[in-house]
Amino acid sequence: MMHIPSLKHITKHYPIENLPDSTEFFIGYKSMLKPVVEPGQYVKKYELLAETEGVFATKLHAPVSGTIAGFQDIDGKPHIKLVNDFKEDALVFPHINPEHTEPAEILEIIKHYGIEGSGGARFPAHTKYAVNDNKVDVFIINGAECEPYLTADYVLMQNKPEALFKAIVCIQKVIRAKKVVFGIEKQHKELAPLLKKHVGLGNFPLEVKILPNTYPQGGELQLIKSVTGKELPKGIVPAQHGIVVSNVGTLWAIYNALYQNKPYIERVIALSGTLAAKKGNYNVKIGTPISFLANFSGIVDSHTKHQVIVGGPMMGRQAKHPNTPVTKGTGGILIMPEEKKNQYNCIECGYCSDACPQRLMPMEFARFAQKNDKDKLITYHLSDCIECGACAYICPSDVPLMRSIFYGKELIKGTIVI
């Protein structure tokens, strides 16, 4: 694994500010979700927009009050378009007293308030915490925000440690882990005393653990290894091994649900990047289009060709459509120059293999994706790739490794047939 410059100093000392509301919101719903609203319908703030039941049950709520203007496809994914009336006409939820809520009720609230994992994978939180009779040995809080530039989790840990610990106490009621470990990276060790102040809130052992600065420390499997020493293969459910991992952003959302009585309609994101004029950490409503954020920030040098990145610089995606919205898994919006990559031939340096946290050989993915050789891609464990981008970052030849990986995965899945 390798070190990359963290670039967090740019925004890590900015407070969390509220972003003004956009006039339009685009709330993306995955294929499993069913919209419960119709075009032209008026919705109050916090009103349910779409939901799905079952194990992966999750819900989407209106971030503002206004009118449903219809449905729109953005990059091939369906989105609900909501036009803000700026009346802040909010739905009132029944009062919750988190200190006296039963575990089952907490799970219900987490489900009804649409809490999803905020680190990017967006796994429904209640499913993760519904451990039933499984013994949980360790509950890991992922405070290793290993993506450069992103400081959303950092500012939460810095400014809202008490809220995070209150959320931990509530989750602990449900999962009853023997031990809670709050993992932060060594480069943020100044947070440790701040966090340790609140350790006494719960009546369970809680440890603040300093993790190495390597990328990707915040990857679930790498984090579990750093904390417990267990090397779990990709695709396994950590709860089966007595491990539950939650992101700092998820804790914040749970705190907002239980203590502020707010469904998951906003999250903290970092607005940064080399071309962003106004930078900082903002409370942003889910569904805010990136064009709104880009306009809010402004671009330093408008002559340079720029691109807006949803997520971090290592794993984020370039937003093709200006209406691409902030989701529950978005940790940051970056405005970056569009740089031309200087492609050389692969020189077999092996840097990609050395950098790969999953110990794979990414150059072989490039080789065999080009040949459409599905069997070889499987032999080289392409399915174990976590798409962290470390290989493409370190590659001196700019071999299209990520392209090969995404393409190869589709080959294996069978979504592309040769």
């Binding site: 499997l221 370039q318 050389y344 020189i347 030849s397 299209p400 392209r403």
Partner: protein, 360 residues
Amino acid sequence: MNLNPFIKPKNNTVRAVMLDVIIALLPLAVVACIAYGVIALWLILTAIASCVVTDFLFNAVYAKNYTSFLDGSAIITALLLCFTLSPLTPWYVVAFGSFSAILFGKFLWGGLGKNKFNPALVGREFMVAFFTVMSSATVWVTNSMVNTKQSDLLSTGSLLANYGNNLLYKTGGALGEYSVALIFSGGLYLLIRRRISWHIPFALLTTFLFCTWLAYFYGVDFKYSSAGLLLGGLFMATDMPSSPNASQGRLYYGCIIGLVAAMFILSGIRFEYLSYSILLLNGFTPFINQIFMPRAWGKKPDYTVKAERIFFLTTAIFAMAFAVISLHYYGLIKYVVYVYIVYIILKFNFSFLKNIHNPI
């Protein structure tokens, strides 16, 4: 659509990699010039010119790529090739060797990074195959031509100082072998810059030294050049495209090179033991890469299957080593070169040319 990541480390392009290797090799070229003056400089410049021009011409004609020769790899090939030669080598032989190194060692494989064998050593074997002067002993009689006989940097006259002086500067052998200290520091620089990994040189040198110790123990005649060994171990065997790219494989590769080189010395291969052993193992690199694939995260490999595959691979390598010994004994190595020429030209025409624009 642009894909992640959207940041890149500074100064980590192929050119930067090549520049680092050139930086590591340059002091050796300077020492060669101190030792043999204009003769050495002329040979080195001839090699560089021949390599760069060949690289440019073929890339321009076949790949319509007019800038790729600037990546610096041709200069490295030229320097490494020169470093294995006697200063008495005729300039046209050097020019031919450099041309072959780039054409047959690199370009016909598809260009930068796609070569299966170390281009400099391929160039060297071409020179040996086509010019008898290369394998004559007279080409190594160079004492009378030395400009600077010895260094007096540590001039106390004690045994230790003499030893130190010899490490710093000692003429004898090929152009790149005059300063063990500088070879070592060049290698160290590459290690620190992470352009080579410690595995190959470490494994190669320890196995080889173990063999020399064994030979000494049994009183067998065992002649080798320690500077040449260091040069080969640090710069030739670690050539990125032709060496394995995972640490376990690198250790195995280094080990076997050391063993095979010792075997070659014992079988009477005087000058070519290291280049033969490196080239031989270059050929097995794809298999080594496959067998020593790193253990993927959370996976449990089948060690019995792996052991079996390692056994068969090692057997195959040693069988090939014995074949090389026999071919060398009967003076047939040049026919291997001829076969190689036919093979690589056919392969280029029917396969590699089609992929010449692919990065891998």
